[in-house]
């Protein structure tokens, strides 16, 4: 079963919860799709097994063949090509690697080269297979990295796969949750947390994904996110209080279920609830 952990708002505890869920299983896969800021590996410290580079195919110009017809320049909607002072220039950071210019060039003056944008590493941490996508700082979009992880690693249905999603509700989140059988939404107790919970709730409904909510960092105060869940009949699977001790473990990259039997029990129960909810 594939479970996507998402939140809309950043810093609600997606990584901590995904890491702990994977850790209480006898055997699990953890995939870090937050390729802009991958942090799961800081907890797992996996023994590296392999790594593949992810590259985009960027056009290269053969200036001897280019006649300056500008068909490619007119075609490119991303403004990645310009014909300036009798030369065709490629702005590789703007290129979306659609390959269109190469296909359309009547002179066959364009070919492609690989431009690395990041990598995917695979490692083992005790009972967990850890897969981490990593976008190089300065590169614009991590979506191709997520797409490659989705294609290569979401296939095993025998063991639980936990996907740690990026924040937000845009294309990278869509790409990450596409193959998920179940979505676990992590919501904080603040007005921000509640606003972003609504946003992600709409997203999972739109995609017809079964889902449940974990209320994280709760205080003994009114909780706008909890209120929203109750008013709209959303299933709350767990309510985790704000805990300075837990925060310290998280800050230092320690996995809570290995530090405390209480948290072990909490996450074990959460796994059971997710399985029950997902097979409903």
């Amino acid at each position: 079963m594939t479970i996507a952990v998402l939140s809309g708002k950043g810093g609600t505890g997606k990584t901590v919860i995904a890491v702990n869920l994977a850790s209480v299983s006898t055997h699990a896969v953890y995939i870090d799709c937050d390729v802009e800021e991958p942090n799961g590996h800081l907890f797992f410290r996996p023994i590296p097994k392999s790594s593949v580079e992810v590259a985009l195919k960027i056009p290269v110009v053969d200036n001897l063949r280019c006649t300056g017809c500008r068909k490619c320049v007119d075609f490119c909607r991303f403004n990645a090509l310009a014909f300036i002072q009798n030369r065709l220039l490629v702005f590789s950071d703007l290129c979306h690697a659609c390959g269109g210019c190469v296909v359309l060039c009547p002179e066959k003056a364009l070919s492609e080269r690989e431009m690395p944008i990041g990598n995917i590493s695979y490692g083992i941490s005790e009972n967990v297979e850890v897969i981490t996508g990593n976008l190089q700082p300065g590169k614009v979009s991590g979506v191709p990295i997520i797409r490659q992880m989705v294609e290569n690693f979401y296939t095993n249905k025998e063991i639980p796969i936990y996907i740690d999603c990026p924040p937000g509700s845009s294309c990278s989140v869509m790409e990450s949750i596409k193959p998920a059988d179940y979505c676990l939404i992590i919501a904080e107790s603040s007005v921000f947390g509640c606003h972003d919970l609504k946003m992600v709730h709409e997203l999972v409904v739109e995609l017809h994904k079964p889902f449940g909510i974990v209320l994280n960092k709760c205080f003994n105060e009114e909780n706008p996110s909890e209120q929203y869940c109750l008013e709209n009949g959303l299933p709350i699977l767990a309510k985790i209080p704000f805990d300075r001790e837990l925060n310290k473990w998280n800050a230092n990259g320690l996995i809570a279920v290995k530090q405390s039997p209480d948290y072990h029990q909490l996450f074990q129960d959460l796994v059971t609830k997710i399985q029950a909810e997902a097979t409903k």
Binding site: G8, K9, G10, G11, T12, T15, E36, E37, N39, L42, F75, R77, F78, H96, A97, C98, G99, G100, V103, L104, L135, P137, G138, K139, V140, S141, G142, V143, R147, P166, P167, G168, S169, S170, C171, S172, V173, M174, E188, S189, S190, V191, F192, H195, D196, M199, L203, E206, F219, E221, E222, P224, F242, R244, N247, K248, N250, A251, N252, G253
Partner: protein, 287 residues
Amino acid sequence: MKQLLILSGKGGTGKTTIASAFIELYQAKLFADCDVDAPNLHLIMSMVSEPIETPFYGLSKFRIDPNRCIHCDECRLLCRFGAITQNTHLIIDPLACEGCGLCEAICPAGAIESFASISGDRMLYIEKDRRFSTAKLRMGNGNSGLLVTEVKNQLQDNLVDTPLAIIDGSPGIGCPVIASMSGVDMVLIVTEPSLSGLSDLKRIVKTAAVFETKTAVCINKADLADSLSEKIRSYCKANQISFVGSIPYDPMIVQALNHHQSVLAKDSTAARAIKTVFSSTLKLLMT
């Protein structure tokens, strides 16, 4: 006019809270929320008027006319984004479509046409001499970098006479962040004391360096893990990054936000620390 952008790398470190406090302390007349994926600043700015809303059209998307399609499959084979699938006939998934237009360009039957698609909404609040520009990306859309640029353009088009604009940014290091950095005078990075916070801080510092943007760092919730706060300070020192202060954790902050009150309304160590961070930032930016 100078522009101050607030970023963090890691999400949830307190960007919006600190941006709102800065706006209050400076009595800012120009401010913006560039976190178009999950905009939150409008929730606490207590703007009384309704914003002027304008839809934002991203790149056009494409669709296939099944009556003209000759099923040559050429478009599906060439699409690098896997947006075209074969069912009873060929269809384009608008959410997967990147809008490159290759399918339209190569279709031998002229069966593919573009259509305008709204990918987000811009909002502009005008109150006396204050201008607040923000936007919301529609669900599952790409184009977030383009929309961020629109938020900033909207602010530029509605300038008022003021020396400083304050801009709340988004988490991460990708296109919306890079788009928000363009033209700013300084980035204040709000980090938190955790291995994740530090790792993400290093990544955002690297990103800012690629675009040659000046940076300063402050630590929020600093006392939750003192040893890591110390590590962050030494990292800044070793890399000659200006460090503008630490703010202690204070549960009153969330409560104030939940009650739509200013985080500075009550005197607390956190409120005093925010004021210190603000004046150090301003000094660095304005000199």
